[in-house]
Every structure is written in structure tokens, then in C-alpha cells.
């Protein structure tokens, strides 16, 4: 979503364009809003944090000689007299992808300066995120009730609990922070801060719909991390 006209530099695709950008004066990411570039750098560092968690989980699970609990059974739900494997996790995944889609559309309508659609879609995203956090709290409660602790659990290898609480807890924290910001941004959108170029609370930056895209990057990243947690922790 680069603005092709800023500073008179054309957008050249591929490695030629990259060489031109890196070899040029003053700014490397031409036409990329500084807030967006900084959000990407933050997400890169966050990627490393989550990678370290997942890699330590891999090492912990790989080096134990006691059987790892079967996630399909541990996270299964008993509904209407039937045991459904991973039911809650599947619903959580679908909720998070739904909210990711509404966020992508909010970014699109933001760039079209469609205040109403953008605001409602951000609100829908926030409610999706809230639902996700609620279901995660339910899952934590259920497991704690069944006796899962960071140092022991009734299903198998004692490391299971510590990795579970650490990884899903850190992800849940990210979702919760995202939900708070989504509600704030929904308010700011409806109040027209981005149309009027009103300044934020902690910044001299004038309000612009690019902020919706920056928030969208964060939200999609939260969804991206869940894709990896879902694959490695719940399915593996």
C-alpha cells in the first residue's frame, strides 16, 4: 500500500526496486508511513518472542521421556452426550479468522474514507476478539479445574501445563491489548478523528486512516500467531 508519488520516487517492483530504495538518500521505505514501518519492526521482534516460546515448547516436548498428553482429548468437549475433539479450539480459530476478515475489510473501507463501514467493522472485530478471550478464559478455567498446573497435570508429562499457560497466556494478552485498542479506534473512527486529522493522545501525528492499517497489521499478526499455536500446540 505504498504511496507511489511521495518524494517523486517511482515504485519499481522486484530486487531492482529494492536496490534503488536501499541505495537512495534519506529514507529507505519510500512512501511507507513511519508508523507502519515501526509497527512492522515491532511485529518482527514479537515474532522472535513467540518463536522462542514455541521452540522451547518443541525442546521440552521432545526431551521428555513421559508421554505427552493427547491434545485432542485434553481440549475435547463433551456436548449433547458426544465427545467432540478440539471443539472449543476449532470455534476459537473460526472466531479469530472471522475477526481478521472484518479487520481487513475495515482497512479497505478506511482507505476509501467510508467512516460508517470502517467503524462498524472495527467494532465487529473488537467483539470477535472479546469472544475469543472469553472462550480462552473458559478453557483455562476448565483445565485448572481438571488439575492442570504449571508443574503437574493428570494427563502426562508435567511440562505440558507450563508451556500451555505460557504460550496461550502470552497470546491471550496480545488479543486483550488488541481488543482495547480496537474499541478506542472504533470510537475515534466514529468521532471522525481520521477525517479531521485530529491528533491522538500521545502523539503529534495528525489522525489519518493509515492508523487503521497499522492497527490492522497488529490484529492480523495476532491471528498469524494463532495459526502457528493451533498447528503446533493443539494439532501436533
Amino acid at each position: 500500500m505504498s504511496d507511489l508519488r511521495i518524494e517523486g520516487y517511482e515504485f519499481k517492483p522486484g530486487f531492482k526496486g529494492m536496490a534503488k530504495d536501499t541505495g537512495s538518500d534519506q529514507t529507505m521505505f519510500k512512501g511507507v508511513h513511519w508508523g507502519k514501518a515501526m509497527m512492522w519492526i515491532f511485529l518482527l521482534s514479537d515474532t522472535f518472542i513467540f518463536s522462542c516460546f514455541l521452540i522451547s515448547y518443541m525442546k521440552g516436548r521432545g526431551s521428555t521421556i513421559i508421554d505427552w498428553p493427547n491434545p485432542s482429548e485434553v481440549f475435547g468437549l463433551h456436548v449433547f452426550g458426544v465427545d467432540v475433539p478440539l471443539l472449543l479450539i476449532a470455534i476459537m480459530t473460526f472466531v479469530l479468522i472471522t475477526s481478521s476478515g472484518t479487520m481487513a475489510l475495515a482497512v479497505k473501507y478506511g482507505y476509501e474514507k467510508n467512516k460508517k463501514m470502517c467503524g462498524w467493522l472495527i467494532l465487529a472485530t473488537a467483539i470477535g476478539g472479546l469472544t475469543f478471550v472469553g472462550m480462552q478464559a473458559f478453557e483455562w478455567g476448565k483445565l485448572i479445574h481438571e488439575g492442570v498446573r504449571p508443574w503437574q497435570n493428570p494427563f502426562g508429562a508435567p511440562q505440558f501445563g507450563s508451556f500451555f499457560f505460557m504460550i496461550t497466556g502470552f497470546h491471550g494478552t496480545h488479543v486483550s491489548i488488541g481488543v482495547i485498542f480496537l474499541f478506542i479506534y472504533a470510537y475515534k473512527t466514529f468521532a471522525g478523528h481520521y477525517d479531521q486529522g485530529k491528533r491522538g493522545w500521545f502523539t503529534t501525528m495528525k489522525g489519518d486512516y493509515v492508523e487503521i492499517e497499522i492497527l490492522g497489521l497488529y490484529w492480523h499478526f495476532v491471528d498469524l500467531v494463532w495459526v502457528f499455536i493451533f498447528a503446533f500446540f493443539y494439532l501436533w
Binding site: 500500500m1 515474532t47 518443541m58 521428555t64 476449532a90 479468522i97 476478515g101 502457528f228 498447528a231
Partner: protein, 111 residues
């Protein structure tokens, strides 16, 4: 003034592409859930999980996070550091294999 005018003309994409990617993500998530539902085991399970995972991650990054339309200078700065994570994974695989070997040797076999 000149600059704000320029920024207003940022490119936007058709709604169809977002809806397609959205639908694909639902379908892929459903497939990865089916991997567990039908209780595939062994290499088939792991390769299917990884395949759906990377496809979903790629779609989210490319289209929802707009990396597909982003300048190469930014894309490369973001993606190359991932090779460090791959290296770390290889190191830790060697590490846990050694750990599990010593645990078997001393706890089970008895040294």
C-alpha cells in the same frame, strides 16, 4: 499541505480479493481441523498440519497484511530474519535429541 494531498491518494484494492482470501482461510482451517477429526497419524499428519499452516500464514501475510503489494525493500527486511529462527530450530532439535538420549540412558537404562 502538498504532502497531505499526496497521501490521500493511497491505493486500495477490490473487495473481492479480501472475500476470497477470507473464504480460503475458513476452508484451510476446516481442513486442518479435519486432520485431527480423522486422526491421521505419523508423517501424513505432520506434513498436512505444516502444509495448511504455511498456506494460511502466507495468505494472511501476503493479502491481509498487504505484503504482496509492499515494496521489496520492506518485504526483504521482514522476511530474511526468519532464517535465524530456522537455524535456531535446527540447533534445538539437536539439543533435545541429546537430552532425551541422556535421560533414557541414565533414568531408564540406568547408566
Amino acid at each position: 499541505m502538498e504532502k497531505t494531498k499526496k497521501q490521500e491518494q493511497t491505493s486500495t484494492h477490490k473487495i473481492g480479493i479480501y472475500l476470497w482470501i477470507w473464504g480460503l482461510l475458513f476452508v484451510l482451517s476446516f481442513f486442518s481441523y479435519m486432520v485431527d477429526w480423522y486422526q491421521f497419524q505419523g508423517m501424513l499428519r505432520w506434513s498436512l498440519i505444516l502444509f495448511f499452516m504455511f498456506l494460511k500464514a502466507g495468505l494472511i501475510m501476503a493479502f491481509f497484511m498487504h505484503l504482496y503489494w509492499e515494496r521489496y525493500a520492506l518485504v526483504n527486511v521482514l522476511l530474511w530474519p526468519m532464517t535465524a529462527i530456522a537455524c535456531f530450530i535446527f540447533l534445538m532439535v539437536a539439543e533435545f535429541e541429546y537430552t532425551v538420549f541422556t535421560r533414557f540412558f541414565y533414568f531408564v537404562v540406568g547408566g
